[in-house]
């Protein structure tokens, strides 16, 4: 029987890992909590902790027509962007997933590239391009620009779902006489639906939250919520923005919990 290892080693390791891990959790969680608490302040400043609590800033939101307008715009654009991203992205994912050809690999990297390239550079490029081809800035150009940066999310989650699929299911379906389209509808689609849903959700959220592309492709008619908020914050520190943030956080948590139930979101985006 060997003696146990000196426990100093184990203790110091556990201590360091837990301390840093906890610091990370605090860092991830605290800002959100702080905003939610501040949004219930009864005062006019962003003092933390607030001296009193009220719902006045949430009540003030009801009359903030500029924010309503921007939020409605962002919602509509995000919806169209998601629809277009799913159509283009799922088809592309079916083509490149499980294929080992060089062409498929190249297309896959090409489709993923907007994820890592500076979106602001693309935003400015898109504005120049639309000016050159004579397409004025409009909701349409916004949807096109957003789709370019949102499609990769759909491609990624759908490719991952396809990769996990058991190929023998499709083989049995084919050997039982089902056509490719029938197999797709009855076998593939139900199996990859959670992957598509997860990708669509992330595409929607990232379009709703997009700044660098909207910055160049919007005009007064298409004021977008994150840009409205950014400009408000640059001007003055308004507590109304805290209330908007509170609403957005609540909606995000709700959507996150629902998507986790429906599509197993966390397993889809790693």
């Amino acid at each position: 029987m060997r003696l146990p290892r000196p426990s100093l080693d184990r203790m110091s390791f556990t201590l360091v890992m837990w301390t840093l891990g906890f610091a990370a959790v605090a860092l991830l969680l605290l800002p959100t909590l702080v905003v939610v608490i501040v949004s219930f302040t009864s005062g006019f400043s962003l003092r933390f902790p607030p001296t009193g609590y009220s719902l006045r800033w949430y009540a003030a939101l009801l009359d903030a027509w500029q924010l309503h307008f921007a939020a409605t715009n962002s919602f509509k654009i995000a919806l169209w962007t998601t629809a277009l991203s799913v159509l283009l992205g799922v088809a592309a994912a079916l083509a490149v997933a499980r294929s080992e050809t060089l062409m498929a690999r190249i297309l896959d990297s090409f489709f993923m590239s907007p994820l890592v390239l500076p979106a602001l550079a693309f935003g400015i490029a898109a504005l120049m391009y639309f000016t050159v081809i004579g397409l004025p800035v409009s909701p349409l150009t916004l949807v096109i620009g957003h789709t370019v940066v949102c499609v990769p999310f759909v491609v990624r989650t759908t490719v991952a779902a396809l990769a996990q699929m058991n190929a023998s299911l499709l083989e049995s379906s084919a050997s039982l006489g089902a056509s490719t389209f029938y197999s797709f509808r009855r076998v593939t689609l139900p199996l990859i639906r959670p992957g598509i849903l997860a990708g669509a959700f992330i595409a929607f959220m990232s379009s709703f939250d997009n700044v660098p592309v909207s910055l160049f492709l919007r005009d007064a008619r298409t004021d977008m919520l994150p840009i409205r908020m950014w400009q408000d914050l640059e001007g003055r520190l308004d507590v109304t923005i805290a209330a908007v943030s509170g609403v957005l956080i609540a909606l995000t948590v709700l959507a996150l919990v629902v998507m986790e139930r429906v599509a197993g979101l966390s397993r889809r985006i790693r």
Binding site: M17, E171, F184, S245, T252
Partner: protein, 285 residues
Amino acid sequence: MAASTNIATTYGLRLAAPLAIFYAAFFLAPLLILFYVSLHVDPEMTRFGFTQYAKFLFDPFSLAVLGHTMWIGVEVTLLCLVLGLPLAWLYVRAPSWAQSTLMLVILLPLLTSVVVRTFSWIVILGRQGIVNTTLASLGLIDAPLKLLYTEAGMVVALAQVQMPLMVLPLITALSKLDPSLLDASSALGAGEWRTFRKVILPLTLPGIVAGCLLTYAAAITAFITQTLVGGGQMLFMPMYIYQQATTLSNWPFAAAISIIFLGAVLVALSLFSLLGRLSKGYAHA
């Protein structure tokens, strides 16, 4: 056998055509136009020349902006790694109920609007923010510290905003780790630190590189967080491009620095993927 698998499960590259055409028309073509615009000498775009590039590359101010931007990315990535790796390590060891809670905590910042996340840092770091009021009530400071619009404040804020991008690939890499390797390492007499350094780190290196790549790319292009928490005194590439384009309407110069920034990001990312490929060889050796 392999051939029959392919026939049953692949749909042919034709299905990629719609997206490929869409990207050619609305992603590749705009980037080409960007390059074309950058090749003009004057803002009215009447003459061709490389002067915009020369203007940037021989201007110490512009080079400093680029260098500072790339360096901020390094700082944020390191901070994310130092905090993210222990978090991922705790996650894979946690019981499943704790895992789902932790996952919510990790995913929430990823999906919360970036303006909201940045706004929370204004509240935390401001003169009447949580840090200053805590320090003052403890009697540690007399006057509020200036935390907002400092580089340290911005790096911490950026680290929080980008942390999920680091943690998610790390969790994937750590959960793929064969537990028997860790048992073998400790049975052979290695302590926790030694096992961590000699077994866990090398085997999760591909995940670490993937996480660093995503974090780095996101941190250097994080326009909103850079402008709101960094403030006007520090200039970074995204704001530099935005200023030149919208405030000064100097489109050729804005286009040239966009191209230079794109190039710098590509070089940084290829370094990361080179590291990734090397680390895969290392992990499998």
